[in-house]
């Protein structure tokens, strides 16, 4: 599902962030991506969301070659992926419902078509009762769950998360990561970047450690 072959990423005038990186993540597989701050975890996820382009090498996701993907095809690719961010990236002037519905609206779904899917996604993250509220009235954990509902409402093939528990206490972090494990058990390919070693040990899933631009498989 996700395949990095000798992928290098560097920025002009700066050191290599990723160097000759290789990775295979199969369909329905889950992996946690660990590493110190500045190791390149976010860059790796940006390559996967095509916010950044690879400098060298081949990156294939769900059969799409991201190295050669044309700009006009990027939106269609992104609609096959769900992304969760550390800072939630919610629209504060829109309701919880409108935030989640956005993903389906950009895919061209009408208000009637998307309604039951939005409600189902909110139920799945335990926010079914909060659909009319605005994000600023919710706690940090609840805001993150809105972000997750937005990322899964279109049942993506791949779910990516960049430090989704970064601002949460341990109990809420466990709750959020268990949610990701649940999605992976239902067949979604999941890659979560985290620096929370306690959660990594607890999850018991495949762990990839990124350091000095290289990936290491951890037992």
């Amino acid at each position: 599902m996700i395949e990095f072959i000798n992928v290098t990423k560097h920025y002009p005038g700066r050191r290599h962030v990723l160097r000759e990186l290789n990775l295979q993540l199969g369909k329905g597989e889950m992996a946690l991506l660990t590493g110190p701050s500045g190791a390149g975890k976010s860059t790796l996820l940006k390559l996967l969301t095509r916010l950044e382009a690879v400098s060298h090498g081949t990156l294939r996701v769900a059969g799409v070659d991201l190295a050669t993907l044309r700009r006009r095809h990027i939106p269609a690719y992104r609609r096959r992926v769900g992304v969760v961010f550390q800072d939630h990236k919610l629209l504060m002037d829109r309701t919880v419902y409108a935030n989640v519905a956005l993903t389906l609206q950009v895919a061209g779904m009408s208000a009637r078509q998307l309604d039951h899917r939005v409600r189902a996604a909110l139920d799945k993250v335990g926010l079914g009762e909060h659909w009319r509220e605005f994000p600023e009235t919710l706690s940090g954990g609840e805001q993150q769950r809105v972000g997750i509902a937005r990322a899964i409402v279109h049942t993506p093939e791949i779910l990516l998360a960049d430090e989704p528990t970064g601002n949460l206490d341990p109990e809420l972090s466990s709750e959020i990561l268990d949610m990701f494990r649940d999605f992976y058990r239902h067949g979604t390919t999941v890659l979560v970047a985290t620096h929370d070693q306690g959660q990594v040990d607890r999850m018991g899933v495949r762990t990839l450690h990124l350091a000095h631009g290289q990936l290491q498989e951890k037992a």
Binding site: T49, P75, R78, R79, K89, L91, L102, T103, Q105, V106
Partner: protein
């Protein structure tokens, strides 16, 4: 493209405008004033042209005829003149009428009577619309008429027609320049407004882009915002011009009555009003398009 996507974008644009009612109203008023100025001047110019065209009895040419011109030849030339461009009326003045007019206006009855016979020729008086032709083509036409076999000479005073046409041409050119500059101003006003909206909605644009929105999906609400504001500004400009002309009608009536005439001002017709709204909508949309083209690329990843 599904209708519901367009309706969704339209609703999004409407909501954005309603969320900032004062800023939206100020933009619409600014645009309306910008549109009302050239449109008001165009309409005033059109009224002036109508007024000048009604002064055809002031622009006339006298074609003096040979004494031996037959009535048939005079009638044929008269028909020919009536069919010429810009000719409003052709009047035949025979020798006796010419003498009577001369005696009445010149007060030289005694001197004329000493001549024994009537020395004044018959003539064809041609009344023209002074704005129908350029002075040079009018001059050429008079030259052509003066070479007709039964015409002895032609007399005309076309200098004032040339002056009048020059003044109208100057006014028209000035209004065109003003209209182009103000249209550019309208595009810039709208462009700047949309640029500010893009800045304010940077998060929404970024998030929409991350969840797979196409550029056209992101761009559409901004274009509709420009279109909506353009349409509303067009209607408001129409109203401003109508009110201005209604206010001016009283003083114009008074002025016209001092000259013993009447002059009803014509504001915009319904067709012209809708044309104004259409142009205003197009400029609003164009301003948005320019802003979106310039600033959205920096925002969308």
């Amino acid at each position: 493209m599904s209708l519901h996507i367009r309706l969704q974008a339209l609703g999004n644009a409407r909501d954005t405008l309603l969320r900032q009612p004062i800023a939206t109203a100020l933009t619409i008023i600014a645009l309306a004033v910008v549109f009302a100025l050239p449109v008001g001047l165009f309409t005033a110019l059109s009224n002036l042209q109508q007024l000048l065209a009604s002064w055809h009895n002031q622009a006339q040419i006298s074609l003096y005829l040979h004494d031996d011109a037959s009535p048939q030849a005079v009638a044929q030339l008269r028909r020919q003149l009536q069919q010429s461009p810009g000719v409003v009326a052709v009047r035949f003045v025979d020798k006796n009428r010419a003498l009577a007019d001369f005696q009445r206006y010149a007060g030289m009855t005694a001197a004329i009577q000493t001549l024994g016979e009537n020395p004044l020729p018959a003539s064809l008086i041609v009344e023209l619309n002074p704005l129908a032709q350029s002075p040079s083509s009018l001059e050429a036409q008079v030259q052509q008429w003066s070479h007709e076999p039964i015409v002895r000479s032609a007399q005309s005073d076309l200098k004032w027609v040339a002056r009048l046409q020059a003044i109208v041409a100057l006014g028209t050119r000035a209004v065109y320049i003003l209209a182009i500059l103000l249209a550019l101003g309208a595009v810039l006003v709208m462009g700047n407004t949309i640029r500010l909206h893009i800045e304010q909605r940077r998060d929404e644009i970024e998030i929409s882009s991350l969840v797979g929105a196409t550029k056209s999906f992101i761009r559409r609400p901004f274009l509709y915002q420009g279109l909506i504001q353009g349409i509303l500004a067009g209607f408001l400009a129409w109203l401003i011009v109508a009110i201005a002309f209604a206010i001016l009608q009283g003083p114009v009536n008074h002025l016209a009555s001092l000259y013993g005439t009447s002059f009803p001002l014509h504001a915009l017709t319904v067709g012209e009003g809708f044309l104004l709204v259409l142009i205003s909508a197009a400029l609003g949309w164009l301003g948005s398009l320019v802003a979106v083209g310039r600033h959205l690329n920096n925002t969308v990843s």
